[in-house]
Symmetry: C2
Subunit: 321 residues, 2 copies
């Protein structure tokens, strides 16, 4: 089977439903006519097999995850997803792999009305790069740099389950059978917090999605906003699965450094807190206040109202550790 | 050195000069405010080491080429380049590699006023994926599907030199020393025909850039436009280097099937031909009429006014040959 037929069969299948897509897959470029007086947010992410997902991850999970990771970046800006470009490098053609992978991609695209507008298929070691684009209203988008001293720090849903699943898969710890399916789903099929991000445009002072680990991503907010933070470990939202699989402090550490959560970490001024909580309640997304920003330029961790010392180095590629 | 520092040092260096870029590299997304009443053309390409460029290609050439290949797709639509996202997967950090690579990227970006607005750096076997975007006036862009029976077929500059350089590097043939530098430059530093593409918006009926090989890319135009073509071999613009390195018919075959030229192949109605030739003359880009479209749904090759039979299979990944 030729490259062109593979692309044609699986990735040009999605019919064009967005009115702003003038020309879809199949020419040298796609062509869009963006809505007027809207900003476009743009993000690019690469997932490499064996680095960003285990080598034996299912094709459908890889397809889902690479889209979810990109949409999660749009969510962190408060953007509404619109178009996706997908570059796949794979070692060999497999019709069933392509079918399952594209099913994973299209599930999320259809849910969020995102149009696949192009891409490339090349031969080589398995990796996938996605460029996702979406709209935000003019001058109304979230950044990492707007946090102020005194703002409250929040996170959506639970954190740490994806890292727990990865450590279980790698044989580094055991997890009771009753919990395995749910944490595997968190690792393979993360949910981009699109709706929460759009609601937060009106309330949050800063936001980021948690990919590198809560601690590392918090440090990105702190650096960009020139603030410090105190994190209250007792408040960290962790699952029963994580709580039952590790001693409590180890569970917190994994939750803070594991990464791959794709939850939103955001800050909100005290004056906006109640309005934000009310607005977020309509989305059905759980939020938890886990700390507060200060002027220390450091990240402190508290447990039982006392400072505790933690090695908070998150996941970084090429890191020396 | 950490990933973030590497990215910061080499890829966030370009200052933001475009007024339509609201937020550049460094947050979850870049944010742009596109010009009103313009289309945006979008293309994504991946280059894999050892597949799309020889393993020993210089970092500067890789940086140049991956940008040139993407801009060439914009040129084939008649678009004006604007923004670039760059995902690099590389096996290990090397400061000199990153410096040379980014120099190659920025040379072209600065020439065409293109802003690097984001990207990702991951660890793995060397490959680079670029998503490039640019403007076209509303409903005024070139496609592969507008060619009509009777239209003339043109190509810019010479073709075949990049393929000749590759075959020389692979030891498949010898090239006289006097020609080696020029063909190596054609392979490593292709020139996207941006200006020619923009001029052609007003005259051409269809266009494509030659990446897979002239014959394969002509077949893409023919399929999309539902036409056939006769190609006049005697007219093919090939360099002295190619002419002197191979028997004539072998030289034509390499020019038609080699690929990697990034010249524009385009069609023009007889009524527009003189006006097009006049307009293109101002760009300094050489063009050559190499055939005509017909209703045969096949590609015929002529030499000395007689039909000749040619195996015109171009380069395709995963091909069985």
């Amino acid at each position: 089977m030729k490259e062109f037929e593979l692309i044609k069969r699986y990735f040009a299948e999605q019919s064009i439903t967005r009115k702003d897509v003038i020309l879809g897959i199949g020419d040298d470029c796609a062509v869009i006519l963006p809505a007027e007086r809207q900003h476009i947010a743009i993000t690019t992410d690469t997932l490499v097999a064996g680095v960003h997902f285990p080598l034996n991850t299912s094709a459908r999970a890889i397809g889902h995850k690479v889209v979810a990771v990109s949409l999660s970046d749009l969510a962190a800006m408060g953007a509404e997803p619109a178009w996706l470009s997908l570059a796949i490098t794979l070692p060999e053609i497999s019709e069933s792999w392509a079918a399952d992978f594209s099913a994973g991609v299209f599930e999320l695209c259809e849910f969020y009305n995102v149009q696949l507008i192009g891409g490339d298929t090349t031969q080589g070691p398995l990796s996938v790069t996605v460029t996702a684009q979406g709209y935000t209203p003019t001058d109304k988008f979230l950044t990492r740099s707007g946090a102020k001293v005194g703002d409250w720090l929040f996170v959506t849903e639970n954190i740490g389950d994806a890292a727990l699943a990865l450590q279980y898969l790698q044989g580094q710890l055991d997890v009771e059978e009753v919990h395995r399916a749910s944490i595997q789903t968190k690792l393979d099929f993360p949910k981009p917090r699109i709706l929460a991000g759009q609601v937060l445009r009106d309330y949050a002072s800063a936001a980021i999605d948690i990919s590198d680990g809560l601690a590392a991503d918090l440090s990105h907010i702190c650096t960009a906003s020139n603030v410090g933070a105190s994190l209250v470990l007792d408040k960290l939202p962790i699952s029963t699965a994580l709580r039952e699989s590790l001693p409590l402090m180890d569970a917190y550490k994994l939750a803070l450094t594991g990464g791959d959560d794709y939850e939103l970490l955001f800050t909100v001024a005290a004056d906006n807190r109640v309005a934000m909580e009310t607005a977020l309640a309509t989305t059905g997304v759980k939020i938890t206040c886990i700390g507060q920003l200060d002027s220390s330029n450091k990240i402190k961790t508290l447990f039982n109202d006392e400072s505790v010392c933690f090695d908070l180095q998150g996941f970084e590629h090429f890191s020396d550790k």
